[in-house]
């Protein structure tokens, strides 16, 4: 596969890893207190686990998984609102596969389907638009979620819907903006992040300038990274080099895809259809200012919440679960008391265990049995202490 396989070349990966080991030895970090590199994108989390990149890093470096999975940061109450809309007999509720099993208080969209709601998995919002055209007597609702990567896609779909004058298509808008998240993360006292791997595909839309505040206001280096192993290893090396030379800037490793200015056509489409509006709630991070995204007045007719008025739900997480801590990198998935016992992919407490690249799901899928000795030790400690 062109432009994919070359960036998975094991020999080049080995070269990068060797170079990393050498350079990392010169860092003011140790295995006990490693340099913490946060990746804020589910695609990066997935790649790390799939290729075992964290196992290949030198001991002075560590990945922490940040809240870059838009499914994982969804407040549970929003799923309940979706299920309420889906339950309308004339609604066809369309969602990406990622969100189908995320639990709300009253269950997931999959549960809603089992109870008779017409919930369909789509691969693209254009599929939902097509359903609207083909089913004029039904109301088609598209669950729009994602960061800036998917935002322009929903925007273009809505522009199309407006051009066609469709009255039976609407979106449940759960898009979120990345930059306010990063800012909020950096403002938390107890989160120690030394450097960032920025999501390549969000950057392809927004460009690299929006990250500068991370260098200037917070003094952290950042590299915009692609998703193949060579991309990520090279990006980590670039971060290490920055630290070695005491520089602190935004660099672009993913130049083949990310233009410095981003995608202007996409930015225009976003501007026409969406606006940043007030604070929005994020699981694990609470309310983040100016992070909510809603439709502009011109497109407000396509707002599913206006059309269906579901009850606003505020649902608190189970106090035992540490979803927020895992999301902000404060703890690893298996350190949550519910991990693997009360919370499994089959019976998940939160989205991190259900979303295919949620940190907990990834850990469970790829590392579960390896952690068993650690868990047993923990249980033993608890038994002795209790």
């Amino acid at each position: 596969m062109r432009f994919v396989d070359e960036f998975r070349d094991p020999k080049l990966a080995k070269t990068l890893i060797e170079r990393l080991h050498k350079r990392a030895a010169q860092l003011p970090y140790t295995a006990e207190k490693p340099m913490q590199i946060m990746e804020v994108c589910g695609g990066h989390t997935h790649a790390i686990f799939k290729f075992g990149l964290d196992k290949l890093l030198p001991p002075q470096l560590e990945f922490i998984h940040g809240p870059g999975c838009p499914v994982c940061v969804l407040p549970m109450g929003r799923i309940d609102a979706c299920c309420e809309i889906a339950a309308h007999p004339d609604v066809i509720f369309c969602t990406f596969g990622d969100a189908l099993r995320v639990p709300g208080k009253q269950g997931s969209l999959l549960n809603a389907r089992e109870r008779g709601a017409d919930v369909r998995v789509v691969y693209s919002p254009l599929d939902a638009l097509k359903l609207a055209r083909e089913n004029p007597q039904r109301q088609v609702v598209f669950f729009a979620l994602g960061f800036e990567t998917t935002l322009p896609v929903t925007a273009v779909t809505l522009q199309q819907a407006r051009r066609e004058g469709l009255t039976n298509f609407s979106v449940f808008c759960q898009h979120i903006s990345l930059i306010p998240t990063l800012r909020s993360l950096l403002q938390q006292d107890d989160v120690r992040i030394d450097a960032f791997l920025a999501p390549g595909h969000v950057s392809m839309v927004i460009g690299t300038a929006p990250y500068h505040f991370i260098n200037t206001q917070f003094g952290k280096p950042l590299v915009v990274s692609g998703f193949e192993p060579l991309d990520m290893l090279q990006s980590v090396l670039m971060l290490v080099e920055q630290v070695c030379e005491a520089s602190c800037k935004t660099e672009n490793q993913y130049r083949r895809i990310v233009p410095e200015e981003g995608n202007v056509l996409a930015q225009n489409a976003i501007r026409e259809v969406f606006q940043l509006s007030g604070s929005s709630e994020w699981r694990g991070l609470g309310l983040i200012e100016a992070s909510g995204i809603s439709l502009t007045e011109t497109y407000s007719a396509f707002d599913a919440e206006r059309r269906f008025r579901p009850q606003t739900q505020s649902v608190a997480d189970d106090p035992r679960s540490r979803c927020g801590d895992v999301l902000t990198g404060r703890c690893k998935p298996h350190e949550c008391p519910l991990f693997g016992t009360g919370c499994t992919p089959h019976n998940a407490f939160g989205a991190l265990m259900v979303s295919s690249e949620g940190a907990c799901a990834a850990w469970y899928q790829y590392r579960y049995l390896e952690n068993e000795p650690a868990q047993e030790q923990q249980e033993m400690k608890q038994k002795v202490a209790g």
């Binding site: 695609g43 990406f96 189908l100 998995v121 691969y123 599929d127 979303s355 295919s356 790829y366």
Partner: protein, 340 residues
């Protein structure tokens, strides 16, 4: 009141004339064999004839509820013959007789039923399998999805063949007979209306002729056909049953490039995709080369490859592109396309 000939009606399941006519014209004429032609309630099969071939009977059953019922490479009827025949083959038996029960939804077009039955008959005939007994029921619209088929099959296992997960030993090699996921990718594309021009089709096929020469090879320990749940499911079954683990090399998996494309696009793994004409064989290291050669000689096994080995450590693991090993878990439900 005229009879509608173009769809299946409740009358066709009622035991009356409509049903008799349908059975005669459609099933009996298509499946035509001496046992069926006796038109008794059940087929009578000669024990003596069977005893000459071996000393155990393999007996298996499966139900087929696939949607869509027609797909590139076949239809539900062909699947119903292949699936059950293959279950017999992998137990070491020579597939000989099938039963077949139909549950038809009121309103199913007769043309569709005819196409399905014809392909069933053709597939069975070409494989030397006789469909010797059957049953037909019709249920009201909505009580079944178009057509469900159950087939049960029997075949004789020759005395010197002893395949089973209990035979698996540490150090054995794990071989697949061909490319992974062709069937699953084809069906996914159709069912989810992904509209992709894949250029591949279901690999649905009777494996008996490819399996036959393996019976003479000592060192063949266990065979399974990889259907729902993909090769991943089989690896876990083998591991569970034998108490050993299996380590698979991701680079060694034979995958057609269109299947790889659909997996990359949707974030899925070919190991989890269904197959309908592939088997997984666990063989001793000494037998590996011979088995690969025998498989590759047959058109259905042209892409046969060793994908891993049996290990002491009782986990199913995948050695990735960069050499790092990770656990391979079974997805607890059908994997959904993801966009993240």
């Amino acid at each position: 009141m005229s009879e509608r000939n173009d769809v299946v009606t409740m009358a066709h399941g009622s035991g009356g004339r409509a049903m008799q006519q349908m059975i005669e014209r459609m099933f009996l004429s298509a499946f035509d064999n001496p046992w069926l032609n006796e038109r008794e309630d059940g087929a009578r099969l000669s024990l003596a004839a069977m005893s000459e071939q071996g000393d155990r009977l393999a007996f298996t059953t499966d139900s087929y509820v696939i949607d869509p019922i027609f797909f590139p490479g076949g239809n539900i009827g062909k699947l119903a013959v292949c699936g059950t025949a293959n279950d017999l083959s992998v137990s070491g038996a020579i597939p000989a007789y099938l039963s077949c029960g139909f549950i038809l939804e009121e309103g199913l077009p007769m043309d569709d039923l005819q196409k399905i039955v014809s392909l069933m008959a053709q597939t069975a005939r070409e494989a030397g399998i006789a469909i010797v007994t059957g049953d037909t029921k019709v249920v009201q619209r909505g009580a079944a999805d178009k057509i469900f088929i159950n087939t049960a099959g029997i075949g004789v296992i020759p005395g010197d063949v002893a395949w089973g997960a209990g035979q698996i030993q540490c150090g054995d090699k794990v071989i697949v007979s061909g490319t992974l996921g062709d069937h699953g990718a084809t069906i996914l594309n159709l069912r989810e209306q992904l509209g992709m021009d894949l250029g591949i089709q279901s690999d649905c096929a009777v494996l008996a002729p490819m399996v036959a020469p393996l019976r003479a090879v000592s060192g063949v320990h266990a065979l399974r056909d990889a259907t729902r749940g993909g090769v991943n499911a089989i690896l876990h079954e083998f591991s569970e049953a034998s108490g050993f683990g299996i380590s698979i090399d991701e680079n060694a998996l034979p995958v057609k490039s269109a299947v790889r494309g659909i997996c990359e696009l949707l974030g899925l793994e070919p190991l989890n995709f269904a197959n309908e004409g592939k088997l997984v064989a666990v063989v001793s290291a000494q037998a590996e080369e011979r088995v690969l050669n025998l498989l590759r000689k047959h058109p259905l096994g042209a892409d046969a490859a060793t994908i891993g080995e049996v290990t002491e450590n009782p986990q199913v693991c995948l050695r990735g592109a960069l050499g790092v090993s990770r656990q391979l878990m079974l997805p607890h439900t059908e994997p959904l396309p993801r966009i993240c």
